[in-house]
Amino acid sequence: MTTHSDRRRGATAVLAAATLLTVGACSGADTTSGTGGGSADAAKLQLSPTTSAAKGTLARADWLLEDEPDSLDLDTQGTSAGRVVLTNVCERLYQLQPDMTTKPFLASSAKTSTDGRTLTLTVRSGVTFHDGSKLTADDVLWSLKRHADPDMEQSDEFGNVSSMKKTGADEITIGFKAPDALFTKALAGDAGIVWNKEQVEKAGQDFGTPGRPDACSGPYALKNWKSGDSITIAAYDDYWGKQPMTREVVFRWAADSALVNALKTGAADGAYAESPNTAAALLKDKDIAQHYGPSTASLVLIPTARGGLGDEKIRRALSLSLDRKGIADSGYGGLVEPWATPVGSGAWGYEKAEFQSAQKQLASLAPASPSADDLAEAKKLVKEAGAPGAPLVIGTDASQGRTVTANAVRAALQRIGLKAQIKTVPTSQFEEFYSDPQARDEIDLLVGDWYISKADPMGFYDNGLSDSSNNWVGFKDATYDKNVKKALATLDDTERASLAIDVQRRFADAAVWIPIAQIPTILLLDAKLTGPPASQAYLYYPWAAELGSKRAE
């Protein structure tokens, strides 16, 4: 799907000093930041897409997830936990790299026509599925059609597709109604998984449930899923590519303190932390290294048009008076970084330098800590707009980070002379704010988080289109709409980046959403181990294959 947030767990995941994220950032550099004491300082966190390469192999790794996967069929139930496991087992037509660029993968080559309306994929030869059968163009076509089924999670990626055909023994041709800049990026995500048609059909409704084999071709095969206990994957001997460094990975799951304790006592070798607070609790532990990498995730305030925030000036005033650094420090242990756009730096899969400087320029609209000038400007805006009569209602759940954020928002509103109150609801109900306009009728502002699955800011900005269901304030700007649509149909990266920066500026000027901080991907890893990527690519890249020991044996 184009944009979504992890709907199961409000918590979040990733990021740090984007200043260090300059082009080609230090791949291979060891960026361990397990400082062995004290809390983190967002400004000093090193952010690198990778960890240093492993030298020694590993017979077995114990890995923690924050939750048991719902299903290992990502077409019917796509959650982060399932992806973290399955990305080692299943392969996609394109592959997202640790530096967030994409390249053809199970498609050995890809060709786009000059008018951008057809994409011709050559299916890689010599690839076998885990049941030993050969991967064919028929499997690819069948998989694409399954992804495109309206009942499946990825169907919205195929909105522009007009036809999908087998046009040669190993060739698939996809036709488009209009050029689609994000389509090949979607093929690096769940929309590009190639299933073994025979195995999926054989399993029927039970495909992806415990006790069933996988239907993929990746470096690991699913060995066992004991419902409620563990999932084991093992290296696939006939893998077409390089054999993995770690031969077997056993996944278990635990939340919050149980996860922290399991890492502390060495019961687990590592985890990708979905919540910065989990990582903050382990900052002092010398045996656990913390690696921070770029992700697309961010903390945001999403206003509704219900009360005063329907007025652009009040929204801008709130953005100017918010203490983002305070939220990062008190709510998230310094592991998130004040940020001026609603997508994290991991979204910069191309033209990094341009996006970085554009983000910095927007900091005047979203200061890390408001200055006296910012507050004066904010008060002026409120005066011009006229203060709303009823108190503004801030919707949140009871998690630590959101509670701190909600209180900081109330403080900011009070600072500029506006009344506010906090409405705390259970997590299950909280999720409905995102999707149910009726639930939102009770709030003026949602303390939210968001990430996009593709490394392209344009994967986000369609949320600001005047007819988007995520445009809750009724933002309308004809130029914005025109440029978003143009960018989505622009295949040239440089051209698309300049359009993206334009719409980003318009989105920020109108404060359609109010950005707070970007969240890094946090990899928690036994200090003796290294290898896997630290960026959000861990959701789509076979990270376990590169996990190994720091020393050659």
């Binding site: 799907m1 415990p210 409620g228 206990d229 799951w253 006592t265 019961a267």
Partner: protein, 316 residues
């Protein structure tokens, strides 16, 4: 006796039937829309999509019709498919049930042995420092909520000393015992005070009865008096209370399961409620109620065997 048992069984079924309806209606009435969860991510929720999901899962039908459908399937041993896991509910539950049952069994052994033991000790040494120590100690234990006990036990014996694992339920008998010791202890602590108090009081009451006085007067050794007369007569209330506490535990393991990262019935229930996973929540709740009703019925049936006086006062 047979008539009594069959009457109890009929009562049990009636209770379950009533409970199943209450459970079904309660889960149905819980805030939140399962269709929102079922329909997937945040950006694909159109009203049409929600309506089609509701129709697909029969969520748009009246409550009674849905209940009837569910009950019919239940009677045919089909608990349905989980909304969240798309797996059979029966498989999900049976995969997690052993962990919870082992945990409750272990905790029961702990609180029965330690609680009854402490109660006997207090009763025998009544009004001495031993009595005060038992009453004081168990009161303290009972006042600590199980999640606090869990956190304290984990940080001391798991993280600091490293004697016990802090997550998972282990394999094999030794592994399971090792993994479940701390969770079972956290669970048993609260029960200790109740059981030791009941034991102490029941024994005091029994010791005050006429035949005990008579036996004592006729020179029967104190040890035999306590074993044959006092403890035997006190057993009824003690067993009843142990049964009730154990039955309560079946429904109360969630906090401990969460703290120790155990995938049991309790954490399955909470997860399913959060995800509006109706079929799973209903099945687990029904299972918990069944467990409670079965255990308390069993206690009721066993009671007269322990204490013949109970049978006499009830019409046979």
């Amino acid at each position: 006796m047979l008539a009594r048992i069959s009457r109890r069984l009929a009562g049990l079924l009636a209770t379950l039937f009533a409970a199943s309806f209450v459970i079904f209606a309660a889960v149905y009435a819980a805030p939140g829309d399962p269709a929102v969860f079922l329909a997937g991510g945040r950006d694909k929720l159109t009203p049409e999509r929600l309506a089609s999901v509701r129709a697909q899962y029969h969520l748009d039908e009246p409550l009674v019709v849905q209940y009837g459908r569910w009950l019919w399937d239940c009677v045919h041993l089909d608990l349905g498919r989980s909304f969240q896991y798309s797996d059979q509910v029966g498989d999900l539950v049976s995969a997690r049930l052993p962990t919870t049952l082992q945990l409750v069994a272990y905790a029961t052994v702990l609180f029965v042995v330690l609680g009854v033991g402490a109660g006997i000790l207090a009763a025998v040494r009544r009004s001495t420092w031993v009595d005060s120590a038992v009453v004081g100690g168990t009161t303290l234990a009972a006042s600590v909520p199980s999640f606090v006990a869990a956190i304290a036990l984990v940080s001391l014996f798991g993280v600091q000393l490293g004697w016990f694992p802090v997550t998972g339920s282990g394999t094999g008998i030794a592994g399971t015992l090792h993994h479940l010791t701390l969770p079972a202890l956290s669970l048993a602590l609260g029960a200790l005070a109740i059981i030791s108090r009941v034991t102490r009081q029941a024994m005091a009451d029994a010791a005050a009865s006429d035949h005990v006085e008579a036996a004592r007067a006729s020179g029967v050794p104190e040890r035999d008096i306590i074993r044959r007369h006092v403890l035997r007569n006190a057993l009824g209330p003690i067993v009843t209370m142990c049964g009730l506490v154990m039955a309560g535990m079946l429904a109360g393991t969630v906090v401990v399961e969460t703290a120790f990262g155990l995938s049991g019935i309790g954490s399955l229930l909470v997860g399913s409620i959060n995800a509006h996973d109706f079929p799973v929540a209903q099945a687990v709740l029904l299972l918990m109620v069944t467990g409670y009703v079965v255990v308390t019925t069993a206690v009721d049936l066993v009671h007269p065997l322990l204490d013949p006086r109970v049978k006499e006062v009830r019409p046979a």
